[in-house]
């Protein structure tokens, strides 16, 4: 079989990866034994397979895990754990601060528009009562003065 460079690469790859059609297997096998280029590719692929197999057995350096453990913060001092502890304390502090501010702002802070309206209403009632009293006094004095003149 006289094949181009890409074609025999593909054929060899298909054969090696098992992606080749069953009816082409025998042809590919005999081609691999006859074609020096494809045979060369097959041998190169075997080298790659050997390297993969060796890499699958590679050990990590003994110190790697120890170094990772040392880099990890102790669990009790992790940011997560600190936040877990601080969250309720923070809530209590915020609540206390809120109550304190509410109390510290004095009775004025208790004024509500409705209260204010009621206060104003009461004031106006008082004022009108005073005005009525004044008018009554004036008219009484006036009557008194007229009687004196008579």
């Amino acid at each position: 079989m006289n094949c181009g460079k890409n074609e025999h690469t593909r054929l060899t790859l298909q054969f090696l990866s098992g992606a080749i059609q069953p009816e082409d297997t025998d042809g590919a096998r005999s081609h691999l034994s006859d074609c020096p280029d494809c045979k060369n590719l097959f041998e190169l692929d075997m080298k790659a397979e050997n390297w993969f197999a060796d890499m699958r057995e590679t050990e990590a350096p003994a110190w790697l895990e120890a170094r990772v453990r040392a880099q990890l913060r102790p669990a009790g001092f992790s940011v997560r754990n600190i936040l877990r502890i601080l969250a309720p304390a923070g809530a209590v502090t915020a609540l206390t601060l809120g109550v304190w501010l509410w109390l510290a702002s004095g009775p004025d802070a208790m004024h509500h528009p409705v209260d204010e309206l009621m206060f104003n209403h009461e004031d106006s009632i008082t004022a009108s009562a005073v005005a009525d009293d004044e008018q009554e006094l004036v008219s009484f004095l006036r009557m008194d003065a007229e009687e004196d003149m008579l």
Partner: protein
């Protein structure tokens, strides 16, 4: 093999709650596969050690980010892939990517990249250098797909979940990556080089 066991939900929760024993078990389960993945992908032992350490610290300190939508092992490889591919993209043209530099590293006694054993002869060492160098010529994603499949032993759908790719795309890209690897091996192969030089 490199299969990362999926921890039981209780074990994961214990590790998340800061249980040192649970965290140690988790760490010992993932450290070797993560290191192998980083070394195979980065082709640089010193950088692989740093990357593996970063990845392991990131995983152990952000377990609460694992939402359980994928397998735990897939999540681990996703974190590792992101870190290593980021390093590969930032790395422009580095001397480690050349065959000569890899040979130099091998002669310097740092044989982790080559996974060489004391019984290895010179030819076997040269073969390993050749493959490591050919893999280093591929695009970061192509390297990651090959390493996840051939070294980490992930299924197509797991590779898809780790690299955020559809399963069909993984299959076609893996095939293409293997093809590229073979072509790179062919180009770097000393006998092929000699033939070209003649």
């Amino acid at each position: 093999m490199n299969i990362i066991p999926d921890p039981a939900p209780e074990a994961l929760q214990n590790a998340l709650d800061g249980d040192a024993d649970a965290l140690n078990v988790l760490l010992s389960d993932i450290s070797r596969p993560v290191y192998r993945f980083c070394l195979s992908l980065l082709a640089d032992p010193a950088q692989a050690e740093d990357a593996a350490q970063d990845v392991l610290v990131k995983i152990c300190s952000s377990l609460d980010e694992f939402e359980g939508r994928s397998k735990f092992s897939t999540w681990v490889y996703r974190v590792a892939s992101n870190r290593c591919m980021d390093l590969l993209r930032r790395r422009k043209s580095r001397p480690e990517d050349s065959l000569d530099a890899l040979i130099e590293a091998g002669n310097g006694g740092d044989s982790r990249l080559l996974a060489a054993r004391s019984t290895d002869d010179t030819a076997a060492l040269a073969d390993k250098l050749l493959v490591a160098s050919a893999l280093a010529r591929l695009e970061p994603e192509q390297r990651a797909i090959i390493v996840l499949r051939e070294i980490s032993g992930l299924a197509y759908d797991e590779i898809g979940a780790a690299l955020n790719l559809p399963e069909g795309t993984v299959k076609s890209r893996l095939f293409r990556a293997r093809e590229e690897l073979l072509l790179a091996l062919q180009a770097l192969n000393p006998s092929e080089r000699r033939a070209v030089e003649k």
